[in-house]
Amino acid sequence: MYSEKTPHDASVVTDETMIEMRDVHKWFGQFHVLKGIDLTVYKGERIVICGPSGSGKSTLIRCINHLETHQRGQIIIDGTELSEDLKDIERVRSEVGMVFQHFNLFPHLTVLENLSLAPVWVRGMPRRDAEKVAREYLERVRIPEQADKYPGQLSGGQQQRVAIARSLCMGPRIMLFDEPTSALDPEMIKEVLDVMVELAEEGMTMLCITHEMGFARTVANRVIFMDEGEIVEENAPSEFFDNPRHERTKLFLSQIL
């Protein structure tokens, strides 16, 4: 499905902590979505999160850039603890890129404007520079010719690549992906995964919710399996797929493979 190139091995992983979650709990009303998540992510790590629908995967990574607020425990991103302090939240958000299942490009702006919006208005970059950076990233996701189109004129795969480029324009230190390929037609999945593999090769710290197990095997350092708001199992991909330890993991893998 994805590029044959394999990312450099675990050597890019450092012992610098990028994300630290300690006993994180979250409720939606009475519903306990996250039940004590402990997770440490090191710089350069590529983590794939999988698990049944409704298990809290999205909620977990949305807590990392504070799209959801956790109610107990601690989340520390690159040295900044997430609290109610708006300045901290905005700082964390400008360092954490996020790619959504449904792309969420801004339909009233051209591709180039989508990409340069945040650098100009959040970073205060001069427009000319921001557009130059934007074009470089469009080149990297291999759609430089679409710069002046509107998102509505692109295919799903192209839109998702634009969305990835949009996040990258902010120069994030961490990238979060929430099922980036599950809204795509099969023939477009590869073009998006290729871009993600390249990103992994460059040493980006990545958390990716996906059920693309081939991608997980090649790219991930660690696969995390979640069920009912808990991390049930985490392991290196080969171990995870070949020797799952928990019954729930086995059941899940038997369903998706």
Partner: protein, 366 residues
């Protein structure tokens, strides 16, 4: 590109589906019911249009300076012609009327580029006009500066007053409406409650009451000796009232924006206000352009209600002219004239909104 083979036939559409006959068939006589409606509409036009043209144009009297110049068979446009200046400027002094013309001319020239599709600095120019023009307008209309004599607002009237009320009303009601709509969707309970209360109170009261209160009751709350210009009071009433309507229109647009748009902007680190002004509002306002323009048109026509507090807008001043003993009995001409002027402005707004919608269309939203 592959060349079509020589043998591929060029088939003409059947004769009856093109040209005048085709059009008629498709649009007017496609079914029995359609045919009945076509005939009925045709009959209605036949009985109503010719007499109207006869009255308004063929039998009408155009030139003269008193009612004796009118034969009485058709419309007496002489009435409008002799009163024209008053209908335009109210009681604004003759010698100063050039200032009104100049003010509207300057405004027209300044805003003209906004209507040119290829002009790139619409945003900056628009802001500059909104920030700068009120001062120029004030100096020209009201005077008291640069050697221009003051013209008190009770002398203002006619179309000029209508345009001043509607213009300022529109320019202020939109931003207040947007703020109220955002307030109503705010996460802060106090802001939300205040916005809801405001909107529900003002929407529940007829404008005529608002105007009356702002004119009669408001002064009671002011300390002795402090007076607020009557025009200003009417304006405050109109803006407070219409912004509540505008808020509900804008809220409809905000609700139509998917949550993913808010989240994507937040995830990029945009603050609340940047998110709103750069991402959400441009999309939300675009969706509700028809509703916004609808409110503008309603506001434009509602300015006629200022008559009850003694301000003479276009309709008011026309009606007042009916009472002139020299010109008794020409109210039809007066109403037709003022109706036509109102219609021209409202239709203009409506057309412009359609152009705008087309221009802002950027393909289908994801």
């Amino acid at each position: 590109m592959t060349q079509p083979s020589q043998r591929s036939l060029v088939v003409k559409p059947p004769r009856a589906s093109v040209g005048v006959i085709g059009w008629l068939r498709q649009n007017l006589f496609s079914s029995a019911l359609n045919t009945v409606f076509t005939l009925l509409a045709g009959y209605f036009l036949y009985v109503s249009i010719p007499p109207l043209i006869q009255w308004a144009l063929l039998d009408a009297d155009w030139i003269g300076d008193s009612r004796n110049d009118c034969t009485g068979e058709g419309a007496c446009w002489v009435f409008i012609a002799t009163r024209f200046k008053q209908f335009m400027y109210g009681f604004y002094p003759d010698t100063e009327q050039w200032r009104v013309n100049a003010a509207f001319l300057v405004l027209a020239c300044l805003t003209a580029p906004l209507f040119v599709e290829r002009f790139r600095y619409k945003m900056s120019l628009g802001l500059a006009i909104i920030c700068g023009y009120p001062f120029l307008g004030y100096i020209l209309f009201y005077g008291g500066f640069l050697g221009l004599p003051e013209v008190e607002t009770y002398l203002w009237g006619g179309l000029m007053l209508t345009l001043v009320l509607a213009g300022i009303g529109i320019v202020l009601a939109l931003p207040f409406g947007v703020l109220l709509a955002l307030g109503r969707r705010s996460k802060m309970p106090v802001v939300r409650a205040a916005s809801v209360t405001y909107i529900e109170i003002w929407r529940g009261v007829p404008l005529i009451t608002v105007l009356f209160m702002s004119s009669v009751m408001l002064p009671l709350f002011f300390p002795e000796g402090v007076t607020l210009d009557k025009l200003l009071r009417a304006l405050i009433g109109i803006v407070l009232f219409q912004s509540a309507y505008m808020a509900e229109v804008v809220r409809g647009g905000l609700q139509a924006i998917p949550r993913g748009q808010y989240e994507a902007a937040e995830a990029l680190g945009l603050s609340y206000w940047k998110n709103m002004t750069l991402v959400i509002l441009p999309q939300a306002l675009k969706i509700v352009i028809p509703g916004i323009v609808n409110t503008f048109i309603a506001l434009f026509k509602d300015t006629t209600l200022v008559l009850i507090i003694g301000l003479f807008d276009l309709l008011g001043i026309v009606q007042q002219a009916f009472a002139d003993p020299d010109w008794l009995g020409f109210s039809v001409e007066g109403y037709v004239f003022s109706g036509l002027v109102f219609w021209l402005f409202c239709y203009g707004m409506s057309r412009y909104s359609q152009t705008l919608e087309r221009r802002l269309h950027t393909g289908h939203a994801p």
